[in-house]
Symmetry: D4
Subunit: 253 residues, 8 copies
């Protein structure tokens, strides 16, 4: 029941074609069963894609190319942007047959199709990565953030064991509106970066490492215990999630 239907019902009551009792029954019936989505109001607030042109996101891992292509078809019909994360060439081939403009970002393991209707963020999102092995996660963040309408600065291979590389990027870091930092192993980079800037830092632990890195757990714990102010953390290897948060921050008026 949307605004129009509600109005129609009330008009019927006024005209006498519907008794108040019957109208009450229909309203209660509706309120008990209908999803918020059907109301035509309220739901707008949390429909990110409606308001921000936020892309449809598909977690590609565990899905067949055919399944992913089917979702892409639905996207094509709805004219919305598409993002497939944790994907590969075979999924891309299947999508390309449907969405000729789709792009495959190999390092990011992501497929995108840009509907061109995403509002732009206000500033720049810097994405720092500690080592070259962290790039798949950093690039997942980069591809995501770009599709969400943000300008990106890539600052890669600036691990804390070679501070001069990081310090050389000082001005690019300080000119960003929000910074994503991806690091594995000891996960120290977010602390160092957050000490150099005063904008929010979104830390992404990566599963890079071996032995006592425990698949990224060490980096995750280190980032949660950052001695620097301004660091918040997302799940291990969650480049997409970090980008979504950074984009939300960057789209704030």
């Amino acid at each position: 029941m949307n605004r129009l239907q509600l109005r129609a019902l009330l008009e019927e009551v006024r005209s006498g074609s519907l008794t108040p009792e019957a109208a009450q029954d229909r309203l209660l019936q509706f309120l008990r069963q209908a999803p918020f989505e059907d109301l035509g109001f309220a739901r707008v607030d949390h429909h990110r894609n409606t308001r921000q042109g936020f892309p449809e996101v598909v977690f590609g891992q565990g899905k067949t190319p055919a399944q992913i292509a089917a979702i892409a078809q639905r996207i094509a019909d709805a004219g919305q942007s598409l993002l497939v994360t944790r994907s590969d060439q075979s999924a891309y081939d299947a999508i390309l047959a449907i969405l000729p403009g789709a792009r495959f970002h190999e390092l990011a393991r992501s497929i995108t199709w840009d509907a061109g209707n995403v509002p732009r963020g206000r500033g720049t999102i810097a994405i720092a990565a500690a080592g070259t092995a962290d790039l798949p996660v950093a690039e997942e963040a980069a591809v995501t953030a770009e599709l969400m309408g943000n300008t990106i600065e890539r600052i890669y291979d600036v691990g804390v064991a070679g501070l001069h590389r990081l310090l050389a990027e000082h001005s690019r870091l300080t000119s960003a509106r929000v910074i994503i930092v991806a690091a594995g192993m000891e996960g120290a980079l977010p602390s160092v970066v957050a000490g150099l800037v005063d904008v929010p830092v979104v830390a992404v632990p990566t599963s890079i490492g071996y032995g006592a890195s425990f698949g990224g757990l060490t980096a995750l714990l280190a980032m949660l215990n950052s001695c620097a102010i301004g660091v918040s953390v997302v799940n291990i290897d969650n480049g997409f999630g970090a980008a979504a948060i950074a984009s939300a921050i960057n789209h704030l008026d």
Copy 2:
């Protein structure tokens, strides 16, 4: 060596009273040893308190009232705002003798003294808490965020087992620029809140619970695995840290 000293050195070179060789030696000597702080430039960028009136923060736990009072004295002399977290009445008594305007926030276990020079954030920070036992953490966040110049909306006792209480606060949530969510036990509230809004959500796991809550670890893990978009996480019981991030977001132009 600050700007004035650098300028004086260069003037000496121009006047001929200092040879380029000697000037080079003094510059290199300085660059090798001096802390960035002494340069009088560059450091400004990451001196949060200089730029934002960010308060001096003291982690009170494990410090004696006398130690905390000594720090407060230094704050008083510098004319900067003061925040003492994880503190108590005895520390407050010691501070009050020095800073008559200091306030003790019992539930937040925090002491503040406002120097009145903090720039205001742009919007509102909503602070949601799942249960009454989470209030010390939520209040630490609230007191911190207020001292940092933010307007706060407290939305307490809205745990997921009673959704109607949370849904009743829908409009207050959606009108915030950034939301802090504190929850212990299963830590589900941030996921639900993030599903209702499209602004950044900073999740704070609390150590509330027993048995398999493992001192907040369960809530922490749950928040890191949020199925909702837009949730980043800080350390267990780190109300201060959440507020600092939210304030940084809220102060973005």
Copy 3:
């Protein structure tokens, strides 16, 4: 807005004293802000205490006697049953001044006041405990279940290292409608009990043990891995929770 208010509004529309436009605005306004609780319908379904006479439960740990007594006062005014878990003598003294009929269950560390309006469960809830050290948890379950209107059978000190004691209670176990089993250390009792009966078994790991019992974690894990069919598990030491589930099962028609 409840049924009566909704009806009144619709009557106003019919009578023409309220235009459909104005009625629509008021309805939308209400739907956006009002808690489900205010609707006067729907919420009834999950108000356990309204329907079942389910007692108000207070987790006493960390609350002062004064705080607990204040809650008790509210209960007294509402004429509802009261249960305070993780409590002690001092809290009981404070409550007794307000609710003369309140009882203190020392072993269960619980205080109860029975409003006498709880519907009776259909069958019997058997509560088995492995050792005498598990009795505080078992008794918390027993006190809770009794207050919720259930008949209880206590089957204590039937640990798996002395099977004959357990087998001697076979008929009492099989005559129950649902069984709560509390055990610490290796947590094996629920598996053995579930192998002897065909009713649901709610397992409660206790924190009894030392060393590699890790505060009940070992018992918890063991119960989750039960090779017997019909075992579900609650949190460590959560006698209350087990009883609430068992009571819900026992109140099913």
Copy 4:
């Protein structure tokens, strides 16, 4: 020794063909060695399948198609229902040659053969799942519960990040006699569901997620720490176990 043999022995004593001393020896000998099963009594109580038509359950993982088929043959001879969990097409092919009526439930990775002698449960078991990735576990529960004689309501894709989808199913949830809730990642759904109903909720954590989901551990811990009343938990991905418990509850008189 069964009832007949015991009776024969006692007849011999009466007739004098056996002295009381010899009879005592034979009885003691029997009591020391014989399995309960041979007694012909007592065992009935915990033979679930005898009493409830409970199917024979085979954990298919790690067994060859030939091994599974051999068990199926024995089932066919005994005329009992068959359930094979964690199975695949090749096992199904092998079974089909023996049990033509067997069915393969691909999503549930389960094979069933219904002997048609299972008593019906009293009410409905609702099975809620947070996301599409949780469906294999939810379907294992569904297939199991159906084979055990229960009517099922599937309520899928109702994760907590989109509350409206869940709330739209409110009436289906409240009309169930017991609810199974499967969720991975942060495992929040059981808490939210249990807050909406007053029937028992059996929570099944799934291994869906990555990084700090630790193969379902996070969801498991979250469910054990549920702030809602009425939630008990089974092992990770244990759809079968959840269904067995729900069926036991649903078969209570």
Copy 5:
């Protein structure tokens, strides 16, 4: 029903005063309900104390002196040996009033009273401890083993960082029938000892250590992973349990 009662019943059958039918009913009735303990047979086999003079063991921790004394009274009446572990002086004082011959072993935190009826083990139990901090656990083992009728060899302060001390005790180690080895920190001593002998080694991890010793967990894990043949392990700090096993081995014919 004991042997005498069974015999009486059978005599009644022979005499005709009881029909076989009635006798069968009484026997079945008894078999369904009676605990094995009441049978007067079978139980003998696992009544360790009856056969071996095994002492009654009380885990003193968490029990009041009065409770412990009450148990001691029962022991005194039954003429059985008494062992109280994890105890202290106040419990000893309470026991001494009842059992004048009781002894307090301060380092072992144990109280014993020897009824004098324990059969002797065949050989010697050597008890090795890595450091002086491990002695409370080692002495709990020693006191237990002695009360259980074993001859003890104490080999203390022979940690692996000073091999010569251990090697100097080679002959005492090789002359034992079974060896208990207590060690904390890295828990390496059992591996080294087991490499020097060919008798069973019972390893007891102790909670001695700090930081990454995690309350004995590191020592426990190390012992479970011993590269030496012949090492089995008991719970952290479980000196009693190790002694019980060693005594059982030492009492084998």
Copy 6:
């Protein structure tokens, strides 16, 4: 330097062909550098295989058939028994070419070749296993113990969820001199078995299970926390180690 060499040296001293100074130098030189093994004494004590006919044990996992065959060749030359654990058919084929009498135990994944010189143990080793999935570990123990000269009683499929099967084996359990118990999942069987007997129980956790069994960790922890007296534990899936301990116990005079 062996006994003969030492004697020769001393003879030289007596004959005057070697001065005491030179003899002293050679002895010190030898003592500093030579391995104990070369001494020809001392080593006897911890050469288990020399004294007990203990087989050479090869951990087959990660070794190529060629490597394993090479070791088998050395065994053949030395006339000692051979045990290869964690092995397969291809390794067996390679060994069979060298040791025609070698046997492959498929379920135990072990290869044996019996040199026929192992002393017999005194009694029987019972090996109990909870489920059929635990048999590979139980059989590894069985094959090992038999090769070490012990008589074995297999008591399989006696999990605690069906107590009657276990109780039916009571007499076989009590007639053993030592019992090995293998179980996965909740690992409860050793506690129940140890409550029925008074001989040592060696518990072997198996990695059988899924989800929160964590590869056998749950069973391991449960066994370490056994409430029954007489249980010691070895590493997960370590059937060989359990058998070696049981054999050592069974070979005690």
Copy 7:
């Protein structure tokens, strides 16, 4: 900006062709943005390879032969030594086409190419390994240390369960300047070795073991808790890291 450029700038100031104001601006501009590396000073201190001829190290795991060969090409051009760890034959084949003198160390899974310009360490680095399964890690350390200019003593298969083998190597151990000790399972060897010497011991836990070795975690924890003085620890399987530390120690004047 390097020394020459700085000097040129200062000369311009002296000559009057550049005003002090402009010079100040250029200097500040440079100091804000330039990487330390460009300064031409300071960087020397932490360029290990420049000063010590330290080889370029490539972590081979996860890199294609082509990628590794490309790096090798760059090394060949720079005339620096090359070390590829965690590598294999196919990577070696690719490198061999570019660097004919490259060597493949199969057991160490490492490829080296020695530029011949590494300064020699002062003493010997002993590398002890507990078992043959630890050799890949020990050999990675050995190959690394040799390429870094150190003399190596391999002391393998000296696990603590056979002390005589270790003691036989006493003089080789004591003659080393620093000792690397690799061990898996219970990780006890570093403690025993450190008790025999007074030089630094670098402990490397290996992932050798199964069950409760948890991929090397047990060995890691044991080494961190060493009761011997002088043991420090690196990550699991980190033979390279241990060698780098030992080499740094061995190169100290």
Copy 8:
């Protein structure tokens, strides 16, 4: 048996007063039983204190002042240096009565008495600490290293969130022969320091932090996963151990 006794025995053989057979028996008897310590050779090598004047170290925690004083008395008699770690004022008072020259280092919680016979290390040991809360551990290291004859450079409060403070100490860091780095929380400092120098870095995680710092575990894991070359790690809060290693390195010729 020492060198003199061995020589005397050999002289007896030469003189004929002892037969070779009898000499052989006595030598074998000695070799079997005597501890290495009694040999009078070999042991010298690992008697650190004999060779290096290494102090006697007492772990004060859990020892009474009287016990500690008794050990101090023995030290006084032997003329050796004394170090008591994890101690307090009351222990110091007890020691002062015996060793008037003893000193109490309050921040380090350590007591020292310097016998004045410790050889000096060759260079300087720098001790860096991240925050003021880490100073007790850093000072334990400092006090230990000084008593062991080393020159110390304290570089405190140089956490990675304020890089300029650390970079300002660059020259002091690079002039050290070995560096100890103490840090809690995310434990990032050792990585950053090791990137700036080429000498060995001994990392000490501290238990400073809260929530997900898990008592220093996070810092420990981070340090073990350092991306910088040259970092080895000791146990949490083990300032003493770090100093002993650094001193051993600093005493290398």
